[in-house]
Every structure is written in structure tokens, then in C-alpha cells.
């Protein structure tokens, strides 16, 4: 077979014109580049061409039949005609046959059909089907899924949806059944869509060229505009486009951004109407004098139909802002800066995060500012900063396509980073070997070469055993260790005690599997590690990550594409919020507040003196409300922006009691969340699609979001609210420019962050929409892979920190014999404040459930097909929820999402923290479970 030289070109004749074109180009590409009009339907840019619709056929000299130009590549001296008589005749007939199949020979039909790609080609070539010849129409229209309709009667069997589902998103739902004219697209085993395994990613809807798969009907008006932005949900940072009409978002399309390339998940695509939910806060609220703060309120059954007027009264902005500021200032003046703290948002913009931490540091006068990273990757970031000097990912998600091996430990990407997971699945399809370690049989493990089902909380045992194998079998990268790693000799001695034989019973993984996985990882040319909450949310989370860092370090898996470490960042802007200094121990860009040089710089830059003591973290702040060591240390006032600790904090009974105990609580949010119910002042804020601002995803991509609609009622931009409070604290902030000076805030933030942002100006973001950091200068693209030659530590080397095996803080016993793991589900985001108010997402997944293995379920008398409720008890509290029987859950464990207030999982969890990362142990709580006849409450939010 001849070799292919990408740069080689071939002589090619197109419609009589002689051309030189690069080898491996398709005829379609060349023809379109030269202005030929060729219809395509089954072909979709960026996807594998199938060549089944035959609309794109062209004539190749000396070939008996016409050829599909979307598939055929050019070859030397090939002569092609795109408009010969034969071609025109085929094209017209094919299009008229497709017109019939696509529903254009019938009467009036939906807008999705008349505006479809097929319809456009029929117009271009002036095709009118004469009579309904061809496939008899099917009348079945499936509207079972709340997000989209499947109308088989206008399907042309182009199979774009099949490729979208099987090859792009790799969800394996859509298939083809039957033969010939009876060929049909099916979901699952020819189930109604809602009963099939469909995850609602909507890739098929986006792919469909006829309107057979379409969004619910919306009358498109002339004033519809498209606004490009970024998804508000997870850290993948998918680019999208809002369709806006009458100041309402009516639809979302995937946009070709660097993180997602048009892909979305069910939340990004269908979860946008929470912003228009009638429960949106539209007026400032002040707590009525006669209503004390009672945490019991949150336990009340009918929370979904709660009447806010029973607790709050409306106020003007001035009154509310004055009261908010005065209350906080009074506490500072009476009790000192240590009596105040601020929780900023990982869902807000970088600019909001930057101003919020600046406000707390300069107005409150302390470093008690934190956000939900504390409950998420705090342990990961702590270990990363300690060992390699930088807390961000070393390689981006799509690097997995370059990796030979990827270890996915303690993460569930198909649920929590669905589009990132599609790249992982694509990589597996291309030959990347996945090693998956998790207590549960996750969806991604179906694509794994090695699935290591570990006991909950035993990660160190597994990883240390793998490290032992690598050292013992001589699989280390000696050169890398020699030049880039410190402390290896001590590390090597220490790891001796962690042989697979000893560790296997602890982690529950057979010795051979440990050896195989370790060998596979270490001997790979390029191997990458991804991890998530399963690793970080433990009292030994920091140790877990130290061990993972060592794994990559001693095998030299750094500094090249397809290698490195990727803690999958959860929130859409948790990376950015941390970068912007919304954390108690560091200023923007991780400069320690305790470092005199850094602090001196900020004092000079912000024009006032700053606290020299590192601040308290989220859970520490909460425990200081009711249980301070001394009165002087009691936390009395809290300013919360876009966070919901009354659902996300561990040990909710105490957390809620603490929130209620605060003398002054100001909550700035878009809904009356569980936390806001305990506030003194509630400030109605803006949702992401109503903002202009930047966010930073897990790949270190800084992306610009545009406002698509206005906030409802009197709700205001968060940026404005923070500035108003700052004014009332006597701070003279002047941020010039539109949208409350957002560009000026960005530029100021950038100045504080130094060289990683040196090349990312606001203007550049407006032009390019996404720029990766570190980016040294405006004309550089930004570095995807970092740590190429050195680590950003003083010595330039990685520091190996040996870890000892420590299991969970509290282990199961006879009284609480099962281990509960909290986490998330596909349709709901975190505490559910947004997604449970998004109509499609709520319809798909409305019921609070706890998942149990069938063996455990039957042991307590729960039948598979009943709708049984169980009472779950831990040392911290009890909760009633519906049971879902799930074989993927490990025997002896329970899985519970924390999104449902009616069965709030964090009532059960404990607030013991990892000593370094200060993160709670959400991934392991001893509980007892019993069947109950008490009916679990299922209310939702009206």
C-alpha cells in the first residue's frame, strides 16, 4: 500500500478545471472550496461520513456508477464532474424521493420540518415532489421525552442521529431496526424515548437534518436573536448559543467551542428555563421582625409551596442594602473582623469572585472568605500546591485522545462531566485503555480495560500498592526522577510496606488486578490521571491526591500531551473563583496572605492594610458560630453570594442551626434557597445568562459569557450589588465602563494575577471568546500542557510526600453497618436550586431517591417493584427517601444525591475534616437503613 504524505498534493480535474489539491481531501471539500453547490444530508461536518443519502454523488470519469463525494478522497489525475446530466438527474431524483420521506409531500407540517436542512436543499434545487411515491409515511410521533419530539414520519434514515449517539456522545441508545423500506430509527429496544436509556444529551436533535428529532414547537418571530455564551453548570465549560425571543431564552444549541465542539448534555441543552421560573427573587427582602430563624422551617414538608410572605417583607434596594451593610459593619465594629465571613460563588463570574474577595479583605478586614471548592477539590488543590506548586490541571480533558492509558479514579464523568466523558469514550473507542477505580460500577467503567471495584475510602491502599508494584518491578522513570523529582529515596523506603498482598484485602481489589493496572499505567508511553470527589471528599483526601501525584511523578508521566494530572473541576467557575483568590489562605493567583511580600503588594495595590492571618474555611466558619473556642472568636455575621450551605454543608442539622444562630445573615441569590430562608436580608441577584463576565473551566480556558436576557423584576447584577455594599463600607471603588465596569474589574484582577494572564486582555476575549492560561502574551495561544520542563516549585522539582494508609474517619459498625456515599445525578446540579426549577430536568428526575444493591434491599425486606421508602439513620440525623434498586451500587453501601431538600443527604453526613484541605468526608458515612411505611415527601419547587 502506498504511503500517505499529508503534505503531498495530487493533480485533480474538477469540472474541467485543473487543480493541485492535498492528498486525503474529499471531493466534497475540494468542490465546495471551489464554489460548487453540492447538497449533503447524511454528511455532517466533523463526523464520520456515511454516504447513504446519495444526495452528494458526483461523476468520476471511468467509473461505472456515481460516487459519494463526502467519502471519496482525491487521487492522482482523477477527473470529476459535479454537474453532468447524470449527476443532475440523480440529485434531483434523490432529493425528490427524500422530500417525500422527509414529509414535504404532505400537508402543513411543523416549523422544524419546514426550516430543516432538507427543506433548504429542496429550495436551492427547486425540488417539488410530484406525488407521494416512496416510503409510506409512518404516523408515530413520540413525545414521551419532555425535552424533544421524535417524529419517525419525516425520517430519511440518514443515520446522523445514530452516529451522534453511538460515535460522538457514545451513549449507545439510538439504533436501526428493520430492513429496506421498513428500516427505522429506534431508541433502546424500540422503546418510547422516555423509557429508553436515552440521557437527553440532545446530540441527535442537533444532528437531525429533517426535523424528525426536534425541540418542542416554538413560533419563531422575526426579532429572534442568537447570543453566544457558555453553559452555567459544570466545569467542562461547553460553548453554547441561546435563542432569545421576547426577552426569553427559548432554546439552546451547542456551539463549536474548544471544550465541547458543539456537544452538550441534558442540563446545558434543556436546563435553561430555571431563570424564568416564577420563584425567581425579584425584590429585595427583609426578614419580618416577628419571625425568628427556625431551622425546623427547612425540615417542613411543604417547602415546595412555601409562602415567603410568612417570613419576609419586600423592601427597596436602598433599604435592603443599608440594612445589609449596617448589620455587617456593626458586627465588625463591635466584635472585630473575626466575627464576619463571606461565602462567594463558584457559579458566578471571575469578576464577581474577584470583587467579593476584595470586599471581604478590605471591608471586613479579614481573610475569612471561601466558597464551595472547600467541599469539592480543596484536598486536591492542597496536595497539588504542596507537591508541584500549582493547583490547576496539567493537561486538558481532550488530551485523553492522545493518551495510551488513562486512570479514572473516584470520578463519575458520564454523570458529572458528560461532555468530557464523551471524549473519554471516544478515546476508548480509538484504543486508549481506561483503568477505572470506584466502589460503584459506573457507566464509564463499561469502557474500561481494568475495573477496580474498591471498598469506599480505601484509595490510599490501592494507589500505594500500585506505587509499590512500580518501584518493585523497576517500572520507574529514572531519568525523570533524577531531574524532576525530590525525595525519592525516602519515598522508596516508605513504600515498601504497601505491597499488593497486604493492601489487597484492605481495598478489596485482587492482587493480579492491582499489578496489571499498575503495570499498564507505568509502562504506557503516555498515561493520564483523572479524578473527582471519590478521591477528594475524604478526611484523608489530601493524602489520596499526594499518592496520585507520586504515581505520575515516579513514572515520568508529565509535560507531554496525553499525560499528567486532571482533577475534574466541578462548578462552571470553581477554577476561576480559586484563581481570583476567593479562598482564605491566598490572594489572587495563589499568593499566600501570610507571605509578607505578596501581602505588601496587595496592600499597596488596594490602598489599605490587610490581615496577615490566613482565614477560616467554610466548615470551620460554620462551627465557629455555635462552638467557638472563645467568645472573641464567635462568628456572628455572614455574607453569602450564590452558595447554599444549608444544603451543601455536612451535618446539616448543625450547619442550619449555625446559620440560624447568626446575628446577621445576608444572602444574595436568584432563588429563595434553603440558606436564604434563614437570612436577615435577601438580595435578588442575576443568573448566568443575564450576566456579562468571564468564567474559567477545568481546562484553564477563560471564556466570555454574554447576557442574553435581563434579570426579572428588580433583580440586579451581582457586580452592582457588591459595589453597592462596598460603597456603604466607605470603599471608593470606581469601575468604569458598561455592565457595572466588568471589563475594568477583569483588567484589575488580571493585574493582580501576573504572568499567567499576561496575554489575556478583555479585548482579546471579546475577539476570541476563549483563551487558555497560562498565556504569556497577546500573540501567544496559551499553553494547554504545562510543567514541560519544570514544576513551579522553588527547586523546580516535584516533592514526593509519602502517605500512610488511613481509612475513613468513622468506619461502619454493628449499629451503622452500611456506608453511605453522596454524590450527584445527571439531571440535577448540586443542591438542586437551579435544576429542580428547570422544567424539563425536573420532569425527567423529580423524586428524591437512595440507591441500594438488590441484596441489601432484600435483606431489609424491600421488593424490587414496589415504591418503598426507607429510613436512613446516621449519628448526625435521619432522612426518609424512596429506594431505587441498583446493581451498580456495591453491596454494603448506599448512594444518595444531595440535590433533594425533601431528603437532604447532608443531614446524615459528618463535619470531620481533612486536616490539610479542610474538606468533609462526604464519600463515607456509616448509616443504618430500614424499611418504613412513612411516606417520603416529594414536593419539588412549584
Amino acid at each position: 500500500m502506498g504511503e500517505v504524505y499529508p503534505d503531498k498534493s495530487v493533480h485533480f480535474v474538477l469540472n474541467g478545471q485543473s487543480l493541485e489539491v492535498p492528498q486525503e481531501t474529499t471531493i466534497l471539500q475540494v468542490a465546495r472550496d471551489h464554489g460548487c453547490t453540492i447538497p449533503t444530508l447524511c454528511y455532517r461536518d466533523g463526523c464520520r461520513p456515511d454516504g447513504n443519502c446519495r444526495a452528494c454523488v458526483v461523476e468520476i470519469e471511468n467509473e461505472r456508477v456515481l460516487a459519494p463525494s463526502c467519502r471519496r478522497t482525491v487521487s492522482e489525475d482523477m477527473v470529476v464532474w459535479t454537474d453532468s446530466e447524470r449527476v443532475q438527474k440523480s440529485r434531483d431524483t434523490v432529493l425528490s424521493l427524500l422530500a417525500v420521506e422527509g414529509g414535504h409531500a404532505e400537508g402543513p407540517t411543523s416549523a422544524a420540518v419546514t426550516e430543516s436542512e432538507l427543506s433548504k436543499w429542496l429550495d436551492v434545487f427547486e425540488i417539488r415532489p410530484a406525488s407521494p411515491l416512496g416510503r409510506a409515511s409512518r404516523t408515530a410521533v413520540d413525545q414521551s421525552h419532555p425535552g424533544f419530539t421524535f417524529d419517525a414520519s419525516v425520517c430519511i434514515n440518514c443515520d446522523r442521529c445514530v452516529r451522534a449517539c453511538q460515535e460522538e456522545q457514545v451513549n449507545g441508545v439510538i439504533g436501526v431496526s428493520g430492513r429496506g423500506a421498513e428500516t427505522q430509527i429506534i431508541f433502546g429496544l424500540d422503546d418510547p424515548v422516555a423509557d429508553s436509556p436515552c440521557v437527553g444529551c440532545g446530540e441527535c436533535v442537533q444532528a437531525c437534518p429533517t426535523g424528525a428529532l426536534r425541540l418542542p414547537e416554538a413560533v419563531v418571530t422575526d426579532d429572534q436573536k442568537k447570543v453566544d455564551s457558555v453553559c452555567p453548570y459544570c466545569g467542562v465549560g461547553c460553548a453554547l448559543t441561546f435563542s432569545v425571543q421576547d426577552d426569553q431564552i427559548i432554546a439552546v444549541e451547542g456551539r463549536d467551542g474548544p471544550a465541547n465542539h458543539r456537544r452538550l448534555c441534558v442540563k446545558g441543552r434543556f436546563g435553561f428555563d430555571y431563570i424564568a421560573n416564577p420563584n425567581r427573587l425579584t425584590r429585595p427582602l427583609i426578614r419580618r421582625d416577628d419571625v425568628p430563624k427556625d431551622p425546623e422551617l427547612l425540615q417542613q414538608a411543604e417547602l415546595g409551596q412555601f409562602d415567603w410572605r410568612s417570613v419576609f417583607r419586600e423592601a427597596t434596594w436602598d433599604e435592603a442594602l443599608d440594612m445589609a451593610a449596617n448589620g455587617l459593619r456593626h458586627i465588625r465594629d463591635q466584635h472585630g473582623p473575626n466575627a464576619l465571613a463571606g461565602f462567594g460563588s463558584a457559579k458566578g463570574s471571575n469578576e464577581e469572585a474577584y470583587l467579593f474577595q476584595k470586599f471581604v479583605r478590605t471591608a471586613f478586614g479579614s481573610n475569612h472568605v471561601d466558597h464551595c471548592t472547600r467541599l469539592c477539590h480543596a484536598s486536591s488543590v492542597a496536595a497539588l500546591l504542596e507537591c508541584i506548586g500549582s493547583g490547576a490541571v496539567s493537561n486538558q480533558v481532550q488530551d485523553i485522545l492522545e493518551a495510551d492509558v488513562a486512570l479514572l479514579i473516584g470520578c463519575n464523568p458520564t454523570v458529572n462531566h458528560p461532555v468530557a466523558a464523551t471524549w473519554m469514550k471516544n478515546a476508548a473507542d480509538q484504543g486508549t485503555q481506561l483503568i477505572v477505580a470506584d466502589p460503584r460500577v459506573t457507566e464509564i467503567s463499561r469502557h474500561a480495560t481494568d475495573f477496580l471495584q474498591i471498598k469506599p475510602g480505601s484509595d490510599i491502599a490501592l494507589v500505594n500498592a500500585m506505587l509499590h508494584v512500580i518501584v518493585d518491578h523497576g517500572l520507574i522513570d529514572e531519568l525523570f526522577i533524577e531531574h524532576r523529582v525530590g525525595g525519592f529515596d525516602q519515598f522508596k523506603k516508605h513504600i515498601q510496606q504497601f505491597s499488593p498482598d497486604v493492601m489487597s484485602p484492605i481495598c478489596g481489589v485482587p492482587v493480579e488486578q492491582i499489578v496489571a493496572a499498575a503495570t499498564r499505567y507505568a509502562t504506557a508511553e503516555r498515561a493520564m490521571i483523572f479524578w473527582g470527589m471519590g478521591v477528594s471528599q475524604h478526611t484523608h483526601g489530601t493524602d489520596n491526591v499526594r499518592a496520585l501525584i507520586a504515581l505520575a511523578g515516579i513514572t515520568g508521566q508529565f509535560g507531554r500531551p496525553g499525560t499528567g494530572l486532571h482533577p475534574l473541576r466541578g462548578q462552571n467557575n470553581v477554577q476561576g473563583a480559586s484563581d481570583a483568590g476567593l479562598i482564605p489562605m491566598m490572594f489572587p493567583n495563589y499568593q499566600r496572605v501570610t507571605d509578607p511580600e505578596a501581602r505588601g503588594w496587595f496592600e499597596s495595590f488596594w490602598g489599605q492594610s490587610l490581615s496577615a492571618t490566613a482565614g477560616l474555611t467554610v466548615v470551620e466558619i460554620m462551627s465557629r458560630v455555635e462552638h467557638p473556642e472563645t467568645e472573641a472568636e464567635r462568628m456572628r455575621g455572614l455574607y453569602v453570594m450564590g452558595e447554599n450551605p444549608a444544603m451543601s454543608d455536612p451535618d446539616l442539622t448543625h450547619a442550619r442551626s449555625a446559620l440560624a444562630r447568626l446575628e446577621h445573615l445576608v444572602v444574595q441569590d436568584i432563588f429563595l434557597t434553603e440558606t436564604a430562608l434563614l437570612a436577615d436580608v435577601v438580595l435578588p441577584a442575576s443568573a448566568w445568562p443575564e450576566k456579562v463576565g468571564t468564567v474559567t473551566n477545568t481546562d484553564r480556558m477563560v471564556q466570555l459569557g454574554q447576557a442574553a436576557v435581563q434579570p426579572p423584576g428588580d433583580a440586579q447584577a451581582d457586580l452592582w450589588i457588591i459595589q453597592q455594599l462596598a460603597k456603604r463600607f466607605g470603599l471608593n471603588w470606581q469601575y468604569a465602563g458598561t455592565y457595572h465596569g466588568v471589563a475594568s474589574v477583569f483588567e484589575e484582577m488580571r493585574t493582580t494575577m501576573g504572568s499567567p494572564f499576561a496575554g489575556i486582555s478583555w479585548k482579546r476575549l471579546q475577539r476570541e471568546q476563549t483563551v487558555v492560561y497560562p498565556c504569556e502574551s497577546e500573540d501567544q495561544p496559551g499553553q494547554g500542557v504545562v510543567f514541560i520542563d519544570r514544576f513551579p516549585t522553588e527547586s523546580g522539582r516535584m516533592r514526593l510526600v509519602p502517605t500512610d494508609y488511613r481509612g475513613p474517619d468513622v468506619v461502619v459498625d454493628s449499629e451503622y453497618p452500611m456506608a453511605m456515599i453522596t454524590g450527584r445525578v445527571l439531571e440535577h446540579w448540586h443542591t438542586g436550586s437551579m435544576t429542580r426549577r428547570a422544567s424539563v430536568l425536573h420532569q425527567i428526575n423529580p423524586v428524591p431517591v437512595v440507591s441500594m444493591h438488590p441484596e441489601d434491599a432484600s435483606a431489609i425486606g424491600v421488593q424490587p417493584n414496589g415504591s418503598t421508602a426507607v429510613l436512613i439513620r446516621s449519628r448526625q440525623g435521619e432522612v426518609t427517601a424512596c429506594v431505587r434498586i441498583d446493581e451498580a451500587v456495591a453491596v454494603g453501601t448506599l448512594f444518595m444525591p444531595f440535590a433533594f431538600y425533601e431528603a437532604a443527604a447532608n443531614v446524615l453526613t459528618a463535619d470531620k475534616l481533612d486536616p490539610t484541605g479542610k474538606i468533609p468526608e462526604f464519600k463515607h458515612t456509616p448509616v443504618s437503613v430500614q424499611k418504613t411505611t412513612a411516606q417520603p415527601v416529594v414536593s419539588g419547587y412549584t
Binding site: 443519502c53 446519495r54 456508477v65 447524470r86 409510506a136 430492513r179 423500506a181
Partner: protein, 253 residues
Amino acid sequence: MIEAGAVQVRRGAGAYICGEESAMIESIEGKRGEPRHRPPYVAETGLFGRPTLVHNFESLYWVRDISERGANWFNAFGRHKRRGLRSFSVSGRVNRPGVKIAPAGISVIELIDEYCGGMADGHTFYGYMPGGASGGILPAHLGSVPLDFDTLQPYGCFIGSAAVVVLSEVDRARDAALNVMQFFVHESCGQCTPCRAGCEASAQLMQAPVWDLDALGNLGDVMRDASICGLGQAAPNAVACVEQYFNSEVSNG
């Protein structure tokens, strides 16, 4: 001669399209029996991506005899300047239908008389399908054409699998043509538009007492030019034959 297990047998489930070489390969690989695009040809990229030879069982059948008795022995058979032996599966209005090993190049009249005991009692030869469902339909007055590879092309037909169907005066060619078109409707894999929609549209048009020959011709051209595989490309053959040789059956007056 060969090691045990060197020959693996796979059974199909009977779909006609799985007789198409690349669809057969797809089916053996566990996928839907849909023909592949060529190039690449299966001789380059075939079963599990490897170069593959696909042979008719009849060819393999003769290998032993030819290797034992020699090529000259085989070539000594034949009629009307054609060489070799063929198996013809003869059905229809003959006294003794069945599989007949006969010289290549034999004409259908000779085949009927010498191997099938003549036309069925009381039936007059009217026409015949020389090569299965895709081979076309010829009238009685072309009953002396030698039946072999490359001898029938000038008449718009081909030998295909040498499944010969004999028609008599009680039959109409248009019925046979509609029957095979409906067969193709049923057996088309459904991948490509010209075949999937074209066969069904043709079958609908062929039910009219008077055929719209322009419309059918148009569909036929596109099916020949733009179908992915031989099923769609050959499906219009019977229609074209009816138009050419049995026109009175489908026209006015």
C-alpha cells in the same frame, strides 16, 4: 490436508442482501448486513479489515474435480463456443424443475428440452428469467441465447446465479417483474435512498394497468447510477426488460 478448525462455518439468517459479498462480511462481523462502499475493495480490506477472497460455493465445488482431472477436462464441456459446466436452478413451467449440471452456454430452450423434460404439459414457452431476481426477463424469441457470463449483457440481462425461471402463456412478464420488485422492496438493506425509496416507488408504479414508463425509467436510471450496491443497481433490470420486450403488457391498446 488442513489443520482441524482451519475451516469455520458461519450461518446466515437468510437475508438476500447478505449474499452480497461485503454485506456478508458485515454480517459475519456481527453487524447489520449492509453492503460497504467500494473502494476499498474487499480484496484489500475485507473481513475484520483483512484482504479477503469471497467465492461462490459453486466455484469451490469444482476445484477438486478440476485439480484431479485437469483444466482440459473441464474446458471440454460447453456449448455454443462457451466452456465448462454450470449448475442451473430451473423452476417454473417445466416438467422436471430442479438443479441441473449442464454445459455452460446452453440455451434455455435446450435446457428445458434436454434437462427438464420439456415445458410442462399444456404450456407454451413465453419467456424466461435467465439469472434470478436481478437478471432480467427475456421473451421466447430470444430463447436461443447462450446462457453464460457475458453473453446476456447485450440484451440487458445477466446470468447471475443461473437461477432460471421459465414462463408460459398463462404468465405475464409484468407480474414477474412486479414480483421481483416487491422482493427487492422486502430485501433491500435500506441504507441508500435510490434503492430504499426507489424500489418501493417503482413497485407502487408497477401496479398501475398502464405503466408510467418515464417515471419508472427515471427511477431506474438513478437506481443504476447511485445505489451503493448491486441490489439497487440491478433492481430496475426487470422493468427495463418488460418495457423493451413485453411492452404490450404495460401500455395502452
